[in-house]
């Protein structure tokens, strides 16, 4: 970012066209793309690479900067969602302003979309890259907005994931507000007895966490409380905590949402539900956890149990698998066998998903006398209730589809997890909800605990069905992400924000209403009032720029001039 570079009129630009292995190279002729742009004004380097994001290519880019005195890059590869930060990092290491990198997406927009038309894909790529070059020519150096952050985290949800995250955050010196809607911490696990696979008792685990929380003065617990509003900017959010009519506002640097799940509640009549002798898995667990000795239900001894799996999961609108229920049901049957070794148990399942180590419980349950019967996806068992008697018929695929009839004393509906009804919080935090109703991360591998809402992280079963230990693990992972952000003490915010030319602004105020983030206000001294935009509050969405009748607002990084140049480039870049 030398002054010399910034002073030059025609910037020196390098263009890199990625083959992404075969992802792009199999369809787009990257050589032709290079050829099409290599002689454009400002382009001093143009070449293709197998993986532009690979370390070796990054090194070449850095070498090019030194040799060719580059001012910026155009990288034609995948979506900027994937690699913006990668290439900005390269620029930074090379001494080029990171905001003078333009990424052009020729994978999602060319090769992947036009696999049937390589020529068309190539020609489209040429236009897009030409447009990218035109935009890059007008790029100005920008510098991240550095904002001090608040070393405090709000954890919303006091189940095991949230409690554990709170403890971990306190352990690395961050303050925590732990906010739970219910009157007590503990969530689902706080009501459970022994859990698979280690036999840890849920109530004891929660008790242990409560003690650990007590021991840490940095954790402030709010029970019977909800988060009702959020404002502020990255690293410094104001949230409102409401508890029995009391509203407190606190400033936090990050927010961890760990609001858990609801259990699927079958409709009356679904597999006989409603009969006292048809229970859900959580109800069955209470039956097991709250008494000792042979199992009794509705005043009668239970000598035989039938489990029907996938109730409420993998069917209808709930297309997802609830993950934990196969293992939980098998584990419950082991507990039942312990209570009464003579109890007969029948498992009616579709695919038995005791994944990983849980497979051992599956083997154990068969050794203890459980029978497994498999029904087809489209042929579930029938439950009929005739007064005292439950009659259950199933076509068992493991015995060549033979129809078997059972008369169990108790039917356990192996119910899964459903997204928690939580519209208020989802609205207050603008949480992203997936098609299955659970909260969505940005990317399951790249950014698994972050959401598209800056500073809001997710953990536990609010993201997807998880076991207790898995929820605790993801709670800790979210704590790690929050700590990674806040322990630096400073956040770097994107400088691609809107700015007002105060000389041109006539203070009409048209723009104020257009900002979804409330970042614009009118300020003035003496007689003149002009719009000012808080850089830390602006998200760079560009909603305000077209509203200004005087064209006094421009979005840095996407200025009107750049957008016009991009369009001109698209029109000019014709296939040869």
């Amino acid at each position: 970012m030398s002054g010399r570079n910034e002073a030059r009129t025609e910037p020196r630009i390098a263009v890199y066209v990625c083959q992404c292995g075969g992802n792009i190279g199999d369809y787009v002729d990257t050589n032709q793309v290079v050829h099409a742009v290599k002689d454009l004004p400002g382009v001093v380097v143009a070449r293709h690479a197998m993986f532009t994001c690979s370390d070796s290519n990054q090194q070449e880019m850095i070498d090019d900067v030194a040799r060719e005195h580059l001012d910026g890059f155009v990288v034609a590869c995948c979506s900027p969602k994937l690699h913006t930060f990668t290439f900005r990092g390269v620029a930074e290491r090379a001494g080029v302003n990171p905001y003078r990198v333009a990424q052009v997406n020729i994978r999602e927009q060319c090769s992947w979309t036009h696999t049937d038309d390589p020529t068309g894909a190539t020609s489209k790529a040429m236009k897009l890259v030409t447009a990218g070059v035109e935009r890059a020519r007008l790029m100005k150096p920008l510098h991240p907005i550095e904002v001090p952050t608040t070393p405090r985290v709000a954890v919303v949800g006091g189940g095991v994931a949230g409690m554990r995250a709170a403890i971990a955050l306190a352990d690395v010196g961050l303050e925590v507000h732990l906010i739970e809607k219910e009157p007590e911490l503990g969530g689902h696990v706080g009501k459970l007895g022994a859990m698979y696979p280690h036999g840890t008792v849920g109530t004891e685990l929660v008790h242990r966490m409560l003690e650990e929380i007590d021991r840490r003065p940095g954790i402030e617990v709010h029970t019977g409380a909800v988060v009702s509003a959020k404002s502020g900017t990255f690293g410094n959010y104001r949230i409102a905590i409401e508890s029995v009519g009391l509203r407190t506002e606190v400033t936090v640097g990050q927010i961890v949402v760990a609001t858990g799940f609801d259990s699927y509640e079958p409709a009356t009549g679904e597999f006989g539900y409603g009969s006292p002798r048809v229970v859900t898995l959580p109800e069955f667990r209470r039956l097991l956890d709250e008494a000792e000795g042979p199992i009794v239900r509705d005043g009668r001894p239970v000598r035989s149990i039938a489990y029907i799996y996938c109730v409420g999961s993998r069917c209808g609108d709930r297309t997802y698998c609830s993950r934990y229920c196969c293992s939980a049901a098998v584990h419950a049957s082991l507990l039942a066998a312990e209570r009464d070794p003579s109890v007969r148990q029948y498992h009616l399942y579709r695919d038995l998903r005791t994944y990983g180590r849980n497979e051992v419980m599956f083997g154990e349950s068969r050794k203890r006398g459980s029978y497994y019967l498999r029904f087809a996806d489209d042929d579930p068992p029938l439950v009929s209730i005739d007064g005292e008697r439950i009659r259950l018929t199933v076509h068992d695929l493991l015995t060549a589809g033979a129809e078997l009839a059972l008369e169990p004393d108790l039917v356990v509906l192996v119910t899964g997890m459903v997204p928690r009804a939580n519209d208020e919080l989802i609205g207050a935090l603008k949480l992203p909800v997936g098609r299955d109703g659970f909260l969505n991360e940005i990317h399951p591998k790249l950014r698994p605990v972050e959401t598209v809402v800056d500073g809001v992280l997710i953990a536990g079963a609010c993201q997807a069905p998880k076991s207790s230990a898995e929820s605790v693990t993801s709670g800790l992972a979210a704590a790690a992400q929050a700590a990674a952000v806040l322990r630096r003490g400073v956040a770097s915010l994107d400088p691609q924000v809107a700015i007002v030319d105060s000389g041109a602004c006539d203070g009409c105020g048209e723009c104020i209403g257009s900002c979804p983030f409330g970042a614009i206000e009118m300020t003035g001294t003496g007689g003149t009032v002009v719009a000012t935009i808080a850089a830390a509050g602006c998200k760079g969405c560009g909603a305000c720029t077209p509203t200004c009748p005087r064209n006094a607002i421009d979005l840095q990084g996407y200025t009107d001039a750049q957008v016009r140049a991009t369009i001109a480039g698209l029109l000019a870049g014709r296939a040869t």
Binding site: G21, C78, H83, H198, M209, G356, A484
Partner: protein, 900 residues
């Protein structure tokens, strides 16, 4: 503390823990065994359920890890010791293996790879294609720098007393680089053809291929290389170094003397060789029969030496060594060998018809053979000279040739091949006899050899059993000629008088071969006693180096043998020959017949085609052959074969173990035929076939490169299977198989894909929907285990399987079968960790002792685990797990800071 945290392993888990800790401000050291950060993920095709390109997810993490200001990465390194300091910190020792490439200098240009003559299965491509010994791991590897894989010195190279890089010239011949092979030989000795014809080839004795169909014909390849050079080129093709003005006299022109002369002349010395006999070559010329070493071959080798300006003065026995010094030679090397036979030391040795072995052989080679036609010959002795004498006697027409030896056949010092050939040619053995007297007739001519029977007693110093005469067991062997070949001796007395009255050569320093008189050196059999050509060559090289160092103070210009790595273990070499194909030698054998009558060379030369085929049998034991081609190829001069590993001792505050899992070795399910049937591949191999950096242009089956149209998946290979000792579910095989199904259907639009499964375990976010998507694309799911796989003559595969849904046993034919292999615990660090008290569960995974509250914590405070080392985990789970480890490491580090 050197680092706040040590992360062992650079897979996705290790990288995530390191990045999170680095972001939190801790200094992290990542130690990685392989040559790149990245782990397995970067080698995958795409990842489920998002179908993102695996490289696109992994490479930014790899680059971020490599460039993070708080993260230091050591590749090619292993943690060798971890010990707690008792206060929550750890002392660790990290060993870094040499890459043999200077990372700072290497530009990743891959010239070395192109020059490399060794190809081995590419482990980064599922061993479906090959890579070079000098290589860059894979296109996205970090660092993008070459390394040279050297597992050790190959046994052949290690066994060569002449220091010839046998593996090197074999791999050069295999690559058709014959002149380069010849030059590699010349680095050791000018006697390429001689050794190629007459060396006893200890290299072949230890050749690993010898444990299969027989050793590589290493020696004959050498002769091929030499003869090819001599047929096409004038002179050795070597330019000697600038004359350095120093002169060395060498007494004796046997293998030691000629080799020393060659080495010194190459380095710029003025060298003159004095030979007592009429022609140069010493023992090579005088004693080795022409059927083993024709004179023309030796002449060509000697011409190499004279081409460098070495003068060989024949008929010049040296009586006065000191006079040479006075003449102006800066150093004198005695290499006069052991030219004389030892006498029998029994009565009657002066009778006519008694001959010394060496004198007999010398007369024959000089063109003055004694008349043995119809005569009965007894050769006394059991060494190589005895065999040469017997075989020569047969050729001269002896009616009867007996070899009398005082011990048993096993104890005979002669080379086995020599003994066997002598027997084939018609020599008889008279074992366990000792000559007592030569009996003469009235004309004082030999009539019989009186011998005594011998019994073998206790072993003597040489380990051989001591011969003990049996009293009263004398008997006579009637004969006309007795040849004494009971040992060789030096002839130093011929000039000893000139030197202080004592045998000047002995003792010399074993290493420098320098005598008590500084300018006087000695080498060869004169020093070692009777040995063989290769040892004498080695001595000649050693003497040349010593003389050079003594005269010039440093190694200048002399080709030096790189410090040897340890010899590679042959068992390990055999163990890695997973798909070893049988390869017979294919060379015409040596033509040994009974009762030969001429001295024609017995061994036919081999042609180019045979030579390349023979060299192709090499198993590349040490991987790198030390052929040296990469050295001049590297434009950055970055290759350094003398590079050695180093150890670092470090103090760290916490340890994260992230060494991941092992893939189940599919050959442990022999009924599925992996390794035997070319078209049975593993899921990981299919990943490579589908990856953007795939080895072929499409999904092709290995046997014939055809596009497979019927593809079967065998789920739970090595998982949920007590018969292989793994009852656990491996968790991700269902999902990667579903992903591959979809990718295959994208690449091969008309392929039919069938999945033989037990339960489809699609248990993560979006996984069930992904399963439905596969079903929707037309993947055929059959519930039931596969019992066995058979191969048809077309290399198709017949699966015998249970179809549970229809209650039948059935068979079906496929073009390609993919085994959905699962995971096994990685026990690389097992012992090291167990010694520190890290607990393992009953399946040998690291035990997370408090998983419900402190997942990732091991039984040792401060040691954490991230990823699949503690149990099967897919990528998203490993990443979350690694994050959980990172925050707890941070808590541990903060507790170290807090006042106690």
């Amino acid at each position: 503390m050197d680092y706040d945290a040590l992360v062992v392993g650079r897979g996705i888990g290790g990288m995530e823990s390191a990045l999170k800790l680095g972001d939190m401000g801790y200094r992290v050291l990542v130690v990685e065994k392989e040559a790149s950060v990245g782990g397995r993920m970067v080698l995958l095709s795409k990842v489920f359920p998002t179908l993102d390109c695996a490289s696109c997810i992994a490479t930014p993490k790899m680059a971020a890890t490599a460039h993070h200001p708080n993260v230091t990465v050591l590749t090619d390194s292993e943690v060798e010791a971890v010990s707690s300091d008792g206060g929550g910190r750890f002392l660790v020792r990290v060993h870094t293996r040499p890459r043999f490439v200077d990372l700072a200098a290497c530009t990743g240009c891959r010239q070395c790879e192109q020059a490399c003559t060794v190809a081995v299965p590419d482990e980064w491509n599922g061993e479906m294609v090959s890579r070079r010994a000098a290589y860059i791991a894979y296109p996205q590897a970090i660092p993008q720098k070459a390394l040279i894989e050297r597992r050790g010195t190959s046994p052949c190279t290690d066994a060569c007393p002449a220091g010839i890089r046998a593996h090197g010239y074999v791999s050069l011949v295999r690559s058709g680089l014959y002149e380069e092979a010849f030059q590699l030989l010349l680095e050791a000795t000018p006697l390429a053809a001689t050794l190629g014809a007459a060396c006893y080839a200890p290299c072949e004795t230890v050749c690993t291929r010898g444990e299969l169909e027989g050793p590589v014909a290493i020696r004959r390849l050498k002769r091929f290389v030499a003869e090819r050079h001599y047929a096409t080129a004038d002179g050795p093709g070597v330019t000697p170094g600038e004359p350095n003005g120093r002169r060395v006299a060498i007494v004796g022109s046997g293998p030691a003397g000629l080799t020393a002369a060659w080495q010194l002349a190459r380095a710029g010395y003025g060298v003159r060789v004095f030979e007592a006999g009429p022609e140069p070559g010493g023992f090579l010329r005088q004693a080795i029969p022409a059927y083993r070493l024709p004179a023309e071959l030796l002449d060509q080798d000697v011409a190499n030496v004279t081409a460098l300006g070495v003068e060989i003065t024949t008929n010049s026995p040296i009586a006065d060594v000191a006079a040479l010094k006075v003449e102006g030679y800066d150093a004198v090397l005695l290499a006069t060998g052991t030219p004389e036979s030892r006498p029998l030391g029994i009565p009657g040795e002066d009778l006519e018809g008694v001959q010394a072995g060496v004198a007999f052989l010398r007369d024959v080679r000089a063109g003055h053979p004694p008349d043995l036609a119809g005569k009965r010959v007894v050769v006394v002795g059991g060494g190589n000279v005895a065999m040469d004498s017997a075989r020569t006697a047969i050729r001269l027409g002896a009616s009867e040739t007996r070899v009398a030896y005082r011990r048993g056949r096993e104890e005979m010092p002669a080379h086995r091949a020599e003994l066997n050939d002598a027997l084939t040619e018609g020599a008889d053995l008279e074992l366990l006899v000792a000559p007592v007297q030569v009996i003469g007739d009235a004309d004082r001519r030999v009539a019989a050899l009186r011998c005594r029977r011998i019994e073998l007693g206790e072993p003597d110093d040489t380990g051989r059993r001591r011969p003990v005469p049996v009293p009263g067991s004398e008997f006579d062997i009637e004969c006309d000629v007795v040849i004494a070949a009971v040992g060789l001796t030096t002839a130093v007395e011929t000039f000893a008088g000139a030197l202080l009255g004592a045998p000047p050569a002995g003792p010399v320093d074993e290493r420098t071969l320098q005598s008590v008189i500084p300018w006087l050196f000695a080498a060869g059999d004169l020093v070692t006693g009777p040995s063989d050509i290769a040892r004498a060559v080695g001595q000649g090289r050693q003497a040349a180096q010593a003389i050079d160092r003594w005269l010039c103070g440093e190694r200048r210009g002399l080709a030096t043998v790189p410090d040897p790595l340890g010899v590679v273990d042959r068992a390990e070499v055999l163990a890695r020959q997973k798909s070893h194909s049988r390869r017979e030698s294919g060379l015409r054998p040596v033509n040994v017949t009974p009762r030969p009558r001429d001295f024609d060379q017995l061994e036919p030369p081999i042609g180019e085609e045979d030579a390349r085929a023979a060299a192709g049998r090499c198993l590349d034991c040490g991987v790198c052959s030390e052929c040296g081609q990469c050295l001049p190829a590297c434009p950055a001069n970055a290759i350094d074969l003398s590079m050695r590993g180093n150890d670092r001792s470090l103090e760290v505050g916490a340890v994260v173990l992230a060494t991941g899992y092992r893939i189940f070795p599919a050959d442990l399910k022999p009924q599925y035929g992996h390794g035997r049937f070319a078209n049975v591949i593993t899921g990981l191999q299919m990943e490579r076939l589908l990856a953007p950096t795939r080895p072929y242009t499409s999904v092709l089956r290995p046997s014939d490169g055809k596009i497979p149209m019927r593809i079967a998946y065998v789920m739970c290979t090595g998982s949920r299977d007590e018969s292989v000792g793994n009852p656990l579910c491996s968790k991700f095989c269902c999902m990667y198989s579903l992903k591959q199904n979809q990718l295959i259907m994208g690449v091969l639009r008309f392929a039919e894909v069938t999945v033989h499964y037990i339960d489809i375990r699609a248990v993560g976010k979006g996984y069930e929907e992904f399963f439905e998507q596969s079903k929707g694309m037309g993947v055929n799911f059959v519930k039931g285990r596969v019992a066995e796989i058979r191969e048809t003559p077309e290399a198709n595969l017949i699966l015998r399987y249970e179809d549970v849904d229809h209650g039948t046993l059935a068979e079906a034919e496929y073009d390609l079968v993919v085994l959905a292999v699962g995971v096994q615990p990685n026990q690389d660090l097992g012992q090291l960790l167990a010694a520190q008290g890290v607990a393992f569960d009953d399946r040998a995974y690291v035990d997370e002792v408090d998983e419900d509250y402190r997942p990732t914590a091991t039984s040792v405070p401060g040691i954490f685990v991230a990823g699949a080392l503690s149990g099967p985990r897919d990528i998203p789970e490993s990443i979350l797990h690694a994050g959980a480890a990172a925050i707890q490491v941070a808590a541990h580090l903060e507790s170290l800071k807090a006042p106690a």
